[in-house]
Symmetry: C2
Subunit: 292 residues, 2 copies
């Protein structure tokens, strides 16, 4: 897999610096950095850049902006979701969650600022305004209502949950954004890239359920068993552990089959396979199916 | 003053409907409408449309999108600011605040969704992508960090407040967005329009302080005396009642003087004068300076 972490972190740092520039309230300025460091796997922007490269990337500054914007939205969602009114999480990525380290007001404002920053970053790349506008449109649709991650979280306030819409919005949305934005950043039609994103999103959800059921808090850097605690729908509950692993493998095969024809097709398939291994750590897989 | 409320409400309703379309979580969908109705004075979008008209508006769909986007950000900020972690307000525009009527999680998600929707609305108008991108950039800068309304709220978490930066970000930012976005929506350079927005914002802040000190809760539809309660800086505290009124009148005179040369200059000056009367209701002014 191509290592894009330097590229992502450099662009991310530049965006955060712009948000801290001049006369700014210092604590809120600090939260911006706190929210995006240390980096998690940066899976979504890595997928985005990988797709852009596979499509023959010709505007690296726009790809960077798209990758940063997507990661900012993801980080904002973590900050808001960790708040006491939602998951009431104490730890995230091995350090105290934002509202524990700062305060609830600063965590809320930090999330708001990061959401806005995502769109600021994309609006600053003016060389191909039609592409930038299209990227903003995709990111907005996969973040807000009626089908983005806000909607996904909103389903948890409903008495009856539409499971398909819930999963698609809560986890799928930003992966679909990743593949579609990658294609569009490279000037390609984003439409045919929806399925790859949706399938990676499905795989990620199943893998998350598996990790939640199998791994220790130390391996994850956050509390485990949260889904069970909050009564959320869960693939392990409905399919059993082995069933969930089989489902994960099937989804990833489908993801690879769905990759649109493009110059970097083979490399992308390799990336998806590599994620399969990262999604469920080998140690957890070994614990589950000894001898295989 | 030209009545633009029908135009604004029609465009706003269309945006909300798009956010509620298809399979969406119903409660969160309802919050979107709840957040924008009943309309307040719609002062910011009215200023925006007035400036666009004065500049020779040629893309009404883009002006509408800009006006709606600005009002959505304003409404989102009210929903988040009313939360228990900030103002802990029970009433807004004569009805229960969002978190009282729904829940804290839904209020937070509603604000998030409205912020995103503002950018979705602008990204959907693709006829002049460079203008749309510029509008997104202005709106983002006046909403997020380091100088937008998020920063304004963030100053309240600092031990020492930069008063000028605080007022400019907290109240001035969206008025500057109003004048600059109005000009850009009509294809004009937004730069010369900053001062008008800044001065209207200053006037609004002083008028808000005056209303807060003078008016009854019935007249405002929200609790009064909140500034005093939260120890925020306040023009009435620093200048006295009469001093604050004199200051308001001086700021508005400066606002009128700052209007850039354009076809609709005279009409804009009239609009600012009309706002002067609306900002501090005649009844309150009469109570303050009897006989005048």
């Amino acid at each position: 897999m191509i290592d894009t972490s330097d590229r992502i972190n450099t662009a991310l740092t530049a965006a955060i610096r712009a948000g801290q520039a001049g006369i700014a309230p210092q604590k809120l300025a600090q939260t911006l950095e706190y929210a995006v460091t240390p980096g998690g796997a940066r899976i979504r922007p890595t997928i985005l850049i990988s797709v852009a490269r596979a499509c023959g990337e010709d505007q690296p500054a726009l790809t960077d902006a798209a990758a940063v914007a997507l990661e900012l939205i993801h980080c904002a969602s973590l900050v808001h979701d960790d708040l006491p009114m939602f998951d009431d999480a104490d730890m995230r990525r091995g350090k105290p969650t934002m509202h524990r380290a700062f305060s609830e007001p600063l965590a809320l404002l930090s999330g708001d600022s990061l959401i806005v920053m995502a769109f600021q970053v994309l609006a600053r790349v003016t060389a191909t305004p039609d592409r930038a506008l299209g990227l903003i449109s995709i990111l907005g649709d996969r973040t807000g209502m009626p089908g983005g991650i806000c909607a996904g979280q909103g389903w948890e306030s409903e008495a009856e949950i539409d499971l398909s819409a819930y999963h698609q919005a809560k986890t799928g949305a930003l992966f679909i954004a990743a593949t579609q934005m990658g294609a569009l950043a490279a000037g390609q039609d984003p439409e045919p890239w929806e399925e790859l994103g949706a399938r990676i999103g499905e795989a990620f959800q199943v893998a998350d359920d598996l990790r939640d059921a199998l791994c220790s808090a130390d391996e994850l850097g956050k509390p485990v068993g949260q889904d069970d605690l909050h009564g959320r729908p869960n693939a392990v509950q409905s399919l059993g552990l082995k069933g969930a692993v089989t489902r994960l493998d099937n989804i990833l095969a489908g993801a690879i089959a769905s990759i649109p024809s493009c110059p970097g097709e083979a490399g992308l398939a390799q990336m998806v396979r590599a994620y399969a291994d990262r999604m469920v750590p080998a140690s957890a897989r070994a614990r589950l199916v000894p001898g295989e």
